[in-house]
Symmetry: C2
Subunit: 157 residues, 2 copies
């Protein structure tokens, strides 16, 4: 039942997707990639693009700029602060570290933009999950689906 990838095969589709991704600096959406790839492979499907984007992300050949989980989370503390996200159980914790607003000024000078705020998030394993994390698979672990129960524990108070 558990479909675990033994090896990743080389295909035309994946090759073009990666080339398109590397060929732009625009941080495109999946749909944009789809439209681009379609110019070369008119029959490719959106599903394939998503599948390969996920594979490329899991194998470290691309980055996915998103919150990770598909839902938004809300925070009743309006003052900006940093967060730590456990990549295994999904828990989100505040980081007891002061917000460094001088970073905003630095970016403004570097890029000529107006910065209102920044968000800093750390990703890794929380104390509890790090303890349970004994084995270390050589294949990208992100390919494995996370059990729903574990994800849910993060919603508990």
């Amino acid at each position: 039942m558990e479909k675990v990838q033994g090896f990743i095969r080389k295909t035309k589709q994946r090759e073009v997707i990666l080339r398109v991704l590397r060929g732009t600096k625009s941080h495109p959406t999946a749909d944009w990639v789809y439209q681009e790839v379609r110019k070369e492979l008119p029959n490719i499907s959106l599903g394939t693009v998503y599948r390969n984007l996920k594979i490329l992300t899991a194998s470290g050949e691309a980055l996915e700029l998103s919150y990770g989980s598909s839902y938004s989370r809300f925070d009743g503390t309006p003052e900006n602060h940093y967060h730590f996200v456990c990549q295994r159980c999904g828990r989100v914790e505040d980081v007891p570290m002061p917000v460094d607003e001088s970073l905003d000024r630095a970016v403004e000078q570097l890029m000529g933009v107006k910065v209102r705020q920044h968000r800093l998030e750390f990703y890794g394993l929380c104390e509890q999950c790090a303890a349970e994390q004994i084995e270390r698979p050589e294949r990208p672990m992100a390919l494995r689906r996370q059990p729903v129960e574990e994800r849910d524990q993060a919603y508990a108070h």
Copy 2:
């Protein structure tokens, strides 16, 4: 047609939602908030929770921890680097600033966790949008819907 909020009325629903949000440190999802609020207001609907979460976020009484747009964006440059996101046009740009990995070690020592990476994103107005941003509404501007054409321009190469 454009529904612009002139003032925000005080309602039981919004009051309870804010109280629930302030009463937890768990960075809950909208659905978790819904379940909690329902204990006090059994007839409230998920839609109302979403609507109010959005209003609270826009008025600065809560933070939304998400990427902002509903889609993921991908980046063909696997090396970690920082991003700047224009809150007006949605454009995403790389920040020419070295990644400070000592932050990861600092958080590990502060929290007793294992940090694999961090993500730092700056939000504000890009040079172009800052120039066009002449007026400054006193009501939270996030309440206003963004024209589709402007959002789309961010997908262009």
